[in-house]
């Protein structure tokens, strides 16, 4: 009896030891070349989930520094060799373009970049849209640039009165509100697929002003933008002058037809409600009255 007990204890101890060894080994493998882990564990943990980690890119590819690690010893010199530090917001473009030449080139054409260059600090750099260490591929639902989330991403600035105060940038902050009323967004919310999001109409890297003839939303370019394959191809040589966010006003003898329709129906519906409910009420009460009288 005692022997069996002892054996069980030994076995358990062995198992625990093996387990410990395995976890250590595992950690060793995962952080094998990350000497930075000891001092920057939160960055490393975030980084481990990112697309860059999956493609074997290391801290050093972005920050420089010494990655080699000798056992469990903390390498104090990790940040001395070749260390390049963190990029500022303005040289972020340069920083990421080393590997993402196309994205960088397109982004450099955008109004976001031009404003940033001018010194508008809130204009987005790569990391404002993609995150820093936790960058995920665009088809990952957790990514901030996953199609369903893009409107929220853009709205974070473009719907924010304090960030985009109209008197300062001269830019409307109702773009998400107006987009919310469109079929595109409503259908997107209830499970529609392939519907236009901000970045489909405005592009995502080379976002340009409406007044820029090279912009996707420049009136003359709208047919091409709306006619993208999968959207409205073939029959879009006709969408001109249409305002997508504000909508287009149609006037009947100086009266805005949209207002006219709205006023008309507001009255009709109030009338209808009052009438139906009122008659039901009157009918019911007079029926009771009848019963009482007879």
């Amino acid at each position: 009896m005692k022997k069996i007990h002892q054996r069980a204890c030994k076995l358990a101890a062995l198992l625990v030891l093996a387990g410990m060894f395995l976890t250590v080994a595992d950690a060793q493998i995962r952080n094998e070349d990350i000497s930075c882990f000891h001092c920057h564990s939160s960055e490393v943990k975030e980084f481990e989930k990112s697309v860059h980690y999956d493609r074997n890119i290391s801290c050093a590819d972005c920050h420089g520094g010494e990655l080699k690690i000798s056992g469990a010893a903390v390498s104090i010199t990790a940040m001395f060799t070749n260390f390049t530090g963190v990029p500022t917001k303005t040289n972020m473009t340069e920083f990421c373009s080393r590997c993402h030449a196309d994205a960088g080139r397109l982004y450099r054409e955008s109004i976001h970049w031009r404003e940033l260059e001018k010194g508008v600090a809130i204009a987005p750099a790569c990391t404002d849209c993609h995150g820093v260490h936790n960058i995920l591929p665009r088809d990952n639902p957790d990514s901030p640039v996953y199609p369903d989330k893009v409107p929220l991403l853009c709205a974070d600035c473009h719907e924010n009165q304090t960030k985009m105060s109209a008197w300062y940038y001269g830019i409307q902050t109702d773009r998400f509100d107006t987009y919310k009323k469109s079929y595109h967004y409503k259908a997107l919310l209830v499970g529609g697929k392939g519907l236009a999001i901000c970045s489909d109409c405005h592009e995502y890297h080379d976002v340009k002003s409406e007044n820029d003839p090279a912009s996707a939303i420049y009136p003359a370019n709208l047919p091409q933008t709306c006619g993208k394959p999968g959207c409205h191809p073939g029959n879009s040589a006709l969408i001109t002058g249409g305002k997508v966010h504000e909508g287009q006003s149609v006037f009947l003898l100086f009266i805005d037809a949209k207002k006219l329709v709205t006023y008309f129906y507001i009255i009709m519906i109030i009338f209808e409600l009052a009438f139906t409910l009122g008659l039901i009420f009157l009918g019911v009460t007079s029926k009771y009255e009848l019963r009482r009288r007879h």
């Binding site: 919310l189 287009q248 949209k258 039901i280």
Partner: protein, 268 residues
Amino acid sequence: MGLQFKRFTLNQRIEHILFFTTFILLAYTGFPLKFPDEWWSRLMIASVGGFDNRTLIHHYSGLLMIGVSVYHVVYHLIEKPRFDILFNLKDLKDFQQQIRYFFRLSDEHPKFGRYTWKQKFEYFGAGFGAVIMGFTGLLMWKPFEAMQYFPIGVVQIANLFHTWEAVLASLAVFIGHFYDEHFGKFPNISWVTGNISEEEMREEHPLEYEEVMQNKETDEVVHETDEKRSILVLFGKMVFTIVFLAICIWMLWISYHVLVEAITTYLL
């Protein structure tokens, strides 16, 4: 309760069934898109098997409804146009009299003919509603084809009309019509049998009753046996009451929200 009176022909009953099934389907697949944030929208869309199905059902029931409406007009113009459905001066008097009666200003309830003023309103309301919904719906189905002939603003106005008219029509049908024709006289199955009882005829269409009894038009009068009120009817009434109240609350919620949205965007 021996005599039964013919009220709807088979043709009319089929039209009515087609019209209301498409109407319910359209409302069921339409309102969720107007309120995509609500929990019930997701439930309703999931219940028809996803967004694509919703669109399919909405489009084809719309087409069917247009079909039925066109058929109705053509058929009744060709067959035997009846003019007692048109408004006349008596309706105005009936209306006045009914309101006076409701407010106890008079003891006399107006005597209605074959169609009461309210039923005429409902009929023409449904008619104009179908026209508006049909045309604007077609514009919205093919916006880019529509834009070959109209500016985009017209399509956007079509959109406005479509929502508003949908709310108005649903209010009229789901509250007004349901209450008047089904809730108040449950179970009213004249939409299936086409007949109404003598009692009902005498109470609700006294003028027509007198006329028919004088002329003794045999094809208008059908004999049938008595029906019994069973526990089933009671149960049915209970279920219908719950459904009716739920729909009423839903409709009031919807009208409140469209009104608030319109007032905040256009009036404030």
